[in-house]
């Protein structure tokens, strides 16, 4: 079958997936080694993150949750920046304006209205930028998801809402989260298109995002994309899923993981060789080695930073304590 992208782009997309995968796998190791703090594992979410963002230009904005903490990598954000976020070091707090990547959103779904507002605001200015927000299946139960998507729809804002449906919210399964057939169904209530794709098929995710971005740019408003897969790793390094997940099922899911799948697609299409696989992986591992080294080489943060940046123009009594 003909693939959705030219060869060079397929290889770039592949590189991004490998980079994200490498970042994730190394981070779990770094955590075990005590070199980073608690970390939210996104193993097997790479097809969604790389595929959806591949439909964007650099003018477009990305609104990640903690699950997409490393998504800035697709924009060339340094590995060490993201590592520092997980190391609790201030140099991990990038400026959204530098990368058009919003800060990692920790409160579930609370960034959905931000994406709606950015998209709306850009449209009001006649600037073409699209906003793409990432969130999970659990996030769709939050009021702020509802208010944000509805507002974007009403404002006809150029936004793309990508739901990473990994079927778990920590220990809460999807059936305890919603009674809907699919999360894409929620789009109906907002009067916008809802699309359901295989979250492990990077090209399917890309195509859905490409069409959604095209609609947004054409002035046809937001789209909700549900990328369905299964969380095949713990929620985070602190989490032990054995208590609530059938590990057998997890094993099966791990076997279906998205990167290997894309590799075989590319190999079958004669686009990717074992040498390229090898070199891409080593290149990314190199980046990680350099990244963690750079992070660890950074001097400890100046405690004075407790006070800087809270205000442009701080109240005198801010330091009283």
């Amino acid at each position: 079958m003909a693939l959705a992208l030219p060869e060079n782009e397929l290889l770039e997309l592949y590189r991004r997936m490998v980079l994200l995968r490498t970042y994730d796998e190394r981070s779990v190791v770094y955590h075990r080694q005590g070199r980073i703090g608690t970390y939210a594992i996104y193993w097997n979410h790479e097809a969604i993150q790389a595929g959806a963002t591949f439909a964007l230009t650099d003018e477009d904005w990305i609104f990640p949750s903690y699950r997409e903490s490393a998504i800035g990598l697709v924009r060339g954000m340094p590995v060490e920046t993201i590592l520092q976020w997980w190391r609790g070091h201030p140099s991990g707090w990038w400026s959204p304006a530098d990368w058009n990547v919003a800060s990692i959103s920790v409160p579930i779904a609370s960034h959905v209205p931000h994406a709606a507002g950015l998209a709306w605001g850009k449209k009001l200015r006649g600037e073409g930028a699209v906003a793409m927000a990432f969130f999970g299946d659990g996030a769709t139960s939050e009021g702020e998801f509802h208010e944000g998507v509805n507002l974007a729809a009403v404002m006809n804002a150029p936004a793309v809402f990508v739901c990473n449906n990994n079927q778990w919210a920590i220990s809460t399964p999807l059936e305890a989260q919603t009674r809907a057939e699919s999360l894409a169904d929620k789009a109906v209530g907002y009067g916008i298109p809802g699309v359901r794709v295989d979250g492990l098929d990077v090209l399917a995710v890309y195509e859905a995002a490409r069409d959604a971005v095209a609609r947004a740019r054409a002035g046809d408003g937001p789209t909700l994309i549900e990328a369905v897969h299964y969380r095949a790793a713990p929620h985070a390094t602190a989490d032990d899923p054995k208590a609530y997940i059938d590990m057998q099922r997890v094993e099966e899911e791990r076997a279906r993981e998205c990167l290997g799948r894309f590799e075989s697609v590319l190999k079958d299409a004669g686009v990717l060789s074992d040498e390229q696989i090898e070199s891409t992986r080593t290149e990314c591992e190199e980046l990680m080695r350099a990244g963690i080294a750079a992070a660890e080489a950074e001097p400890p943060a100046d405690p004075e930073l407790v006070f800087t940046h809270a205000y442009v123009d701080p109240p005198e009594n801010m330091r009283n304590g």
Binding site: P90, W93, W94, S110, W120, D313
Partner: protein, 320 residues
Amino acid sequence: MAELTLVEAVNDALHCELERDANVMVLGEDVGRAGGVFRATAGLRDRFGSDRCVDTPLAEAGILGSAIGLCMAGWRPVVEMQYDAFSYPSLNQLITHVGRYRWRSGGKMEFPLTIRMPYGGGVRAPELHDDSPETYYVHTPGIKVAIPSTPADAKGLLAAAIRDPDPVVILEPKLVYRTARGEVPEGEHVVPLGQARLAREGSDVTLIAYGAMVKVCEDAADALDVSCEIVDIRSLRPLDEASILASVAKTGRVVIVHEAPRTVGFGAEIAALIAEKAIFDLHGPVLRVTGFDVPYPYWTIEDAYMPSVERVTAAVQKLL
């Protein structure tokens, strides 16, 4: 100079600031077609268009959250919350994002948004149209809070808030929206945040208040035959500690007045400030006349809840 009511002054400030800066926009429930339930935004939609005075869906968290995104897109949003108690659904956005986003950006981005709302009791309204939520706002890091008591300050503080690079919450005392009338400078008028107003000079007792309680203090002062100094705080954060401490040094007697429930109301912060920095100036206890730690009552008996001239004068007499 024109003589305006407090709510007219708010409307005047919005016209001036939208005129002055094309990045300023107003959003909220019923601010456009209706011009606001108190007419605070009247005329803006006709004058500046429906893109700069926007009727939003009925969703306070969505409104405030989208204002954060609007800031990222280069706008200076002025958000109206229709009433004090109806701002609560937006508290999560306020606390977790509005107050923290600039810090998150390493100081590289600004979130110059303004949140304004009518607040306070005494208006004979149904439940939840009477709250004084200033504690929820002023306790939240990254936020500034101002409360005018006069038309001129209502205009000047709102202008300052809109121009301020940090997020500012303006609480407008709806009890005196139409009864507080006064001279208001025409055109641009800015009252800097962080400066208290000496509403009245006096020597025996310092009455510290803000919003609609300033008038209550003035009436109490008139009713008393002691010399009362009245400090209208105006700006809760940044707080003008110097003016408060100077007045306490002068009088040695303090009564703090606010409508909000007493426990960790803003009066507690003022009292703590004095207990820390002016303890040796005091001739007696620091007294608070406040709302009670109960739900705001049914309006036929709300006068028993609201700080009154009687309660303020009684407190002053205790100190003499």
